[in-house]
Symmetry: C2
Subunit: 395 residues, 2 copies
């Protein structure tokens, strides 16, 4: 039987309200930029677009680091680009692990045959810097790596103390900003972060596919003085930097249209301004939490350690996790995330990231969740929308 | 000074005629698909889009291999995905190298600490299978790897004999199809290829950013019986296959919009049909070569070993390489490629790939090149367009 080409219809993904752990809603301007005509990766016009993208990335990373680029892969490729370039076999690597993404770093450290020093923390809590200090004591780690915004738990890890610990230990301070970049203050230069990476589909509100990355001078020095080759050709940042630098030396073919989209999403951020953007995220987060708590539900993470971009809500015991998520998707077009790992079935993860962080989504979510829980027989306290409103009128 | 967001204008990459070594011209339908609304990577609608993309990829690879997916990176990430998953440290790897991309495989084999057995060939010529047979003799290689369409030289490597040599040696046969997939007969199952990868920005005429990849049963067996962990988390195909398989287990966030674009580009190919598509590529190639040779220029590669999708034209000694390419770009909007490595300054690389493979582009290129060469003082024989026309009226 010949292959029937007509079984495939025009693309029609529908429209969703993306309030999961990513992707977030993508603004029309970004989608439109994605569809601009493809040109060559060495075309003079494209080289200018690259320069502008770098300049915009430095703005959101709050850094002057020359080597600030989008890696040609998703956020996890950014993680890998950091570790594969900055670690050599046998190096000590201290990794803070209090969720899926810290664990992923630890896994990768071992694949790269570096010596893993794990600092474990409870899922749903930030890691105590004292614990890290103890773990580092007497060691000469090459890196100290931590997740700023743990997407699996909704925890925000304060970075300042860890930066000092890394500096004192002579280690590079590496930070996963996949979920925080563009929605929270990441202060790469102010805090003294040597290497960081992010994803595009969270608070940048660009489709997934690129990993913004920045290496400071100390990271570049470590990269330049390696004794062994990087165990990846694709992610060898010394080669990639020749393409993104003045030489413009061909490495791999840059994902041209994705970079159009990223540039536009960053331009939207620059137009809003980081300060206003952070405030917007905080405001919508507080309104959402006020509504959730008014319903009688509770948050996984203590207030002081909560991310303003991703909310981990405890699932009431009487409720069927999957049924609720399916109802939200089918009846209201809302995507939220379930728990991962040890939190599977125990939390919902509700993102209010980038373009998704807006009163319209917050009100919709509260109303939709209330409706769904009621229809599944749960007794929900009333007044949630009112409590959310109150946040908007006072903050 | 505060950051000035208004220095960045609306995206305007202009329009080019893409006749370099990739990217090729992207059809409007593909650009439009790219800009469809982003939905979640675990959304039921997206899962269907994944299934359809896999089915379409199997069609262009000419395979029934279950594990046929787009890797979340460009063609080079596909190369890396093949080698990092199928090689372990100490394994023997026979690599045929007669251009930049064969060399890249050899480089990667060494980064992965496998034992490299190089079979070198002249740049601009196919590799003699007898040479490979000799190199393999007495060895027990894990893989035999070769580039089907060497993008740096325009050479087509016949695959049948090498497949037999690999089979006899008990090695996996790995083929780089970056530039051939979608424009030439690759016959994965018919020839007996165990693993292959490609890029999207060549004969598929989708923007760069994904790497179609297929692993046959023997490759999956090798992957499943590894003794050491894959030295990459991002490209660990045993994890990736859990997401693309029935389990749908989250690995990394799929590049949703790029997959929309790929699906549309593959749908266009299926609608045209592979047989007609291969014939179209051959026809436009022959017309282009007829025009080039009528001008008095010559091709790098002997006729029997030429790719029908990428033409390596010798640069006449009297002519300034860069000036000609700049004039083509500025005066006619045409992008072609220069030579790489030892062929830098010696050849132009002119792609007629995918959507770019059409009489309009062929006639334009011949006329523009003739005009440019004349304006630079070269004596060009007349009648090139007529010779190209003659091909269209007889083939």
């Amino acid at each position: 039987m010949p292959f029937d080409a007509h079984q495939f219809k025009d693309i029609d993904p529908g429209e969703r309200v993306l309030m999961g752990p990513g992707p977030s809603d993508v603004p029309g301007r970004v989608l439109q930029a994605l569809s601009a005509p493809t040109i060559g990766h060495l075309d003079p016009t494209f080289l200018s677009i690259m320069d502008e993208t770098q300049s915009l990335l430095r703005y959101v990373f709050q850094t002057k680091n020359r080597f600030t680029i989008p890696v040609s892969g998703t956020g996890s490729a950014g993680m890998e680009a950091c570790l594969v370039n900055l670690l050599e076999p046998g190096d000590q690597a201290v990794v803070c692990a209090n969720g899926v993404f810290g664990n992923r770093m630890a896994d990768l450290v071992q694949r790269l045959r570096a010596e893993l020093v794990r600092v474990d923390g409870a899922w749903g809590r930030a890691i105590d810097p004292e614990k890290v200090k103890k773990a580092v004591k007497g060691k000469t780690p090459k890196i100290l790596a931590v997740v700023h915004a743990e997407t699996s738990t909704g925890v925000c890890q304060p970075l300042e103390d860890l930066a000092s610990i890394a500096r004192e230990a002579g280690a590079l301070f590496i930070v996963d900003m996949v979920t925080s970049l563009g929605g929270m203050d990441v202060g790469v230069d102010r805090i003294g972060i040597d290497a960081a990476y992010a994803g595009t589909q969270k608070c940048l509100s660009c489709p997934p596919g690129l990993a913004p990355l920045t290496f400071g001078p100390r990271a570049m020095e470590v990269l330049g003085s390696r004794k062994t080759p990087v165990a990846s050709w694709y992610l060898d940042m010394s080669l990639v930097s020749s393409y993104w630098g003045k030489e413009r030396k061909y490495h791999h073919t840059a994902p041209v249209n994705m970079i159009y989209g990223l540039r536009e999403s960053l331009r939207i951020i620059a137009q809003e301004g980081l300060k206003d953007r952070f405030k917007r995220h905080l405001r919508n987060h507080r309104a959402l939490v006020a509504g959730i708590e008014a319903m009688g539900l509770s948050m996984l993470v203590p207030e002081a350690e909560r991310l303003p971009v991703l909310n981990a809500i405890r699932i009431p015991e009487e409720v069927n996790d999957l049924k609720v998520r399916q109802a939200l998707l089918h009846d209201f077009g809302i995507e939220i995330g379930g728990g991962l790992g040890e939190l599977a079935g125990k939390i919902w993860r509700v993102g209010v990231m980038g373009h998704s962080s807006c009163p319209r989504n917050v009100f919709l979510f509260i109303a939709a969740l209330e409706t769904t829980l009621r229809s599944q027989g749960l007794k929900v306290k009333s007044g949630a929308l009112k409590e959310a409103s109150a946040v908007y009128s006072t903050f």
